[in-house]
Symmetry: C2
Subunit: 582 residues, 2 copies
């Protein structure tokens, strides 16, 4: 089989103009960006909101191996399958971060015959939305340090006399807005900024700081959760960036930087329209990771897609404990649009890895032994799939298990897995998914089962409502969601909880950051762990995004590059084509 | 008069498709990015290189005030004037950095009725080229720290055994590749990266580092100096990022990251086509500052423009000691295309400021007194204009002085200035330039004098040739170029000079970084200083860009935000339009 980039390059694509018209957009509702991308104007929503909303299908997965189980392949393949069954359909996916593209995982366009195309444009820069988020985020960071510098250099009164501005009296020890970068750069996790030579204060005041990857920026969450530009602007104004010497929260509005941040993100609020290899219109928008952020593409993109098409297929990152949990508890409660069906992607290799009998590491090749028949490992790993099926059922969302087939998979094991799912008491459906090797033709069974499950009356129930206390909401996700037996808050987290309560930040969602490699907060606990504790190390108020963010265990908000990063394979050939991207 | 953004918004623009065709591009040679921007494919050069090259006009200036003297206004206005005289013409300008846009100076689209439009798209993000440079630059930085971390964690042999890669043995004290950001962020000038909690080495090895503004990145210079994508790729490979423990230079090629960096910049190599308010096709490409970098838009853009149009108007940043010096000594020697005419922009306010009788500070309003008649100040400041006229003459390039008129200017002083220029023995022409208030109609006299000067046979002579020694080249710029009486190299600079010589890096240009606010390296020395020393603090090898970079005096490669930054004025109105941008 050809490589992903070669398949993509040899497929003849429609002009994005034709794709947009076919999707139901009017010529004035989009702006082509070259041949294969278009920005979609939010003006279309005024016209479309009169139409009934179509069905929303959320693709999730078992607990993944570090290489992923093929959720994007399945999302794209399924959308192509639904199109082949002559239904109107769109896909909505996140913009890939360049961190993983250059780091370990590679691109995030799907693969084989189920890709968003052109994959090299999707995987690099695209229309610049992540860069706009990064720029807006770091503008606020520069504004904070500049304000501290100017206010403290000659004292607050002098500052006010010179500038006419009120002194904000930012406590340099309580700046809670880090900087961000769209790279895997572990050396930036912990830095000291504002250092000076020879005791001269010309570069600001020294303080401990750090960088997160842009996918973890609160602005990325805001982009994904906003309903329109006005909402985006207001949310940015509410972002708490620091605390004053008196302990009062200081917002981006207080810094008078919220307007400029919104200006910087004005084009980013428009989703980018692309197409799959089979011409299914696909909206790309926002890119929060699902381990350290809320892991779903935007409410705006879903809103456009569900009003244009009868079926919209989107995905939540990692397993159903991660992106799907947040799709239900955060995104659906904000948007008011619940998933009509969940697709749980499972692979033989992923389930066997979940047996705990294999040790897979990011950046290392999958051992061949994982593709050999191993009934025992498959049975042991099946506990993980069963857990995810039951987890999706907690939300009242009907599900279909998609067995994402790899070329090396054994027929015997595939049949065994299908039989195991069919034997479950839940009303879950199961289908082989061969989108990678066959495109939409390989997902026809999956597509018809998804359409069938979408017919059920919605029974959607989130695990909590925003009006509960923050502690109750954290417990709901950890204990009801993950199945933990207990939750412990660190001393710091407990203090933060109290502080946010006092400040009135209580009616927010909660967004838990944890390893995606286990249902628990310990990556090494495979399968369906129970009787585990969820330790909450630290909380972070995201008043603009509308959630309180909880760091569980040792999760890192800035990844690192491996020994042999993916960037080493990338280059340009003599004709200027990109090689080595997958 | 309306504000810049209001003039821009109320002017009816042509579709960029029409502008491109009118410029002489074929439909397959450009890709529209929305209604008003297009990326120009370098393929057009194959077709166009058979045509004769048109005339190249470089706009430069007197020593500017911190607010600038209106070089971009004059560039755009002059191009519009040439078009009104029925000649084919294009303008080439740099992409504005968001640092100044959000900081002090504001946008860089020109102003009044001589703007590149839409100015809000030019001033923010544009087509993402600066972001691509930033991303490629920081990818190499992440690659360096990651390599140090992986090699040193368990020793070189262990690293090679595990990864199959040769140990580069990077000396963490001799990493010469800083990180960059397109913001004014003084707190990032000096930072410590790779810090760890509690003695655990999980974030890398601690070392002193810093950030420059993206305009100062060697990759920005490479973008501006490359002839094509292949040349860009090769230059990136030659970039020296660090030295090994044995003192050997380590390149981006050695790190195996050069290919990925070129991939990240693949779209950035295509200039962006826009239009002026009067529909003159304008190429925007690259954005090196002229104080801390080489300060000129790209060779590729000039090459396309001069092969499409009879006249190409471009600009070099700041005074003729800065961008124009580098346009002649670096850019023209690399491209082989010399300027046919220089335009020296002068303003009454700028000349009076050069008298030394006024004290202007960035971010502060211009004192009204500067617009009152002050014959003495004008005469004193005229020495500066005279210096720049003589400076341009050193290169054998014919010149026209453009007096950029401000609404408050007095007729008497304008006449006085004109007469003083006309009385000079040089063959210099002079014309009022009213592009700001009248568009192309305000520059007709300037345009015809420029066209006349372009008829002179080229006498172009750079101040040095690349084959001279580095010290000779530095002396040529400082003593012949600036008129300094001496040059002193710091101990560090002297050692670096020796080292580069030993390593064989001798056939390169030199790029001096210094304050733009004086011909000397002391911002406070106004007018036409002489008998000054040029102290070279530090050298930096830019083997990819092809020059040795010299830091003179206290020049900063990362600006800071003022007390009341421009970003405070920016916001979105209820219709989502940007307000407060100028």
């Amino acid at each position: 089989m050809l490589s992903d980039i070669d398949i993509c390059r040899t497929t003849s694509l429609s002009s994005i103009h034709d794709i947009a018209l076919r999707a139901g957009l009017l010529p004035e509702e989009f702006h082509s960006q070259g041949k294969h991308k278009a920005k979609v104007s939010l003006n279309c929503l005024k016209r479309l909101s009169k139409k009934a909303s179509g069905k929303l299908v959320v693709v999730t997965a078992i607990t993944p191996t570090p290489l992923g189980e093929g959720k994007t392949v399945t999302t794209v393949g399924l959308a192509q399958g639904i199109a082949q069954l002559s239904h109107s359909v769109m896909a909505c996916i996140r913009q890939p971060s360049m961190g993983p593209v250059f780091g370990v995982k590679g691109g995030a366009a799907g693969g084989g015959y189920s890709q968003v195309a052109p994959m090299e444009e999707l995987n690099l820069h695209l229309t610049g939305d992540i860069h706009a988020v990064t720029a807006a985020h770091n503008l606020a960071a520069a504004a904070i340090d500049a304000r501290i510098y100017h206010e403290q250099r000659n004292g607050y009164e002098d500052f006010t006399a010179r500038s006419g501005l009120k002194a904000l009296k930012i406590d340099p020890k309580r700046v809670v807005w880090k900087r961000v970068m769209d790279h895997n750069d572990r050396a930036l996790r912990m830095v000291t900024v504002g250092q000076n030579d020879l005791g001269k204060t010309i570069n600001g005041f020294e303080r401990q700081d750090g960088f997160d990857i842009s996918a973890a920026s609160e602005l990325m969450a805001i982009l994904a959760l906003s309903s329109d530009l006005k909402d985006l602007r207001q949310r940015i104004g509410r972002v708490v960036v620091a605390y004053s010497m008196e302990g009062e929260p200081i917002t981006a509005e207080d810094l008078q930087v919220a307007g400029a941040m919104a200006v910087s993100m004005r084009d980013a609020i428009e989703p980018t329209l692309m197409q799959t290899l089979e011409g299914v219109p696909t909206l790309i928008h926002a890119g929060p990771f699902a381990n350290i952020a809320h892991g779903n593409s935007s409410i705006i993109a879903d809103n456009i897609a569900t009003h244009l098409a009868d079926y919209t297929v989107t995905e939540g990152g990692f397993g159903s404990d991660m992106g799907f949990e947040k799709a239900c508890n955060i995104k659906a409660q904000v948007s008011g649009k619940a998933p009509d069906c969940a697709v749980i992607v499972a692979t033989l290799r992923g389930l066997k890895a979940n047996s705990g009998l294999y040790d897979l590491k990011p950046g290392q090749a999958i051992p061949d032994s994982l593709f050999e028949d191993d009934e025992k490992a498959l049975e042991a790993g099946f506990a993980n799939l069963k857990w995810h099926i039951e987890n999706v059922a907690k939300y009242g969302v009907p599900a279909v298990v998609a067995i994402n087939r790899f070329p090396q998979d054994s027929e015997k094991e595939l049949a065994q897995l299908k039989a195991m799912v069919e034997a479950l008491p839940n009303n879950v459906e199961v289908a082989l998914s061969e989108g990678f090797s066959k495109g939409g033709e390989g997902t026809l069974e999956l597509a018809s089962k998804v359409i069938k499950q979408c017919e059920h009356e919605s029974q959607f129930t989130p695990l909590y409502t925003f009006s509960q206390t923050t502690e109750e909401k954290l417990m709901a996700v950890a204990e009801v969601g993950y199945g933990a037996s207990s939750v412990t808050l660190s001393y710091q987290a407990r203090n933060q909880l109290e502080e946010y309560q006092k400040q009135g930040f209580d009616n927010l969602a909660v967004c838990l950051a944890k390893t995606p490699l286990s249902i628990s907060t310990e990556g090494s606990l495979k399968g369906a762990p129970s009787q585990f504790n969820v330790p909450i190390r630290e909380l972070k108020l995201c008043a603009g995004a509308g959630f309180i963010y909880a760091l569980c265990g040792n999760v890192m908000t800035m990844p690192g590059l491996p020994e042999k990063p993916a960037f080493m394979n990338l280059d340009l050939d003599d004709d200027g084509n990109i090689i080595g991207l997958s």
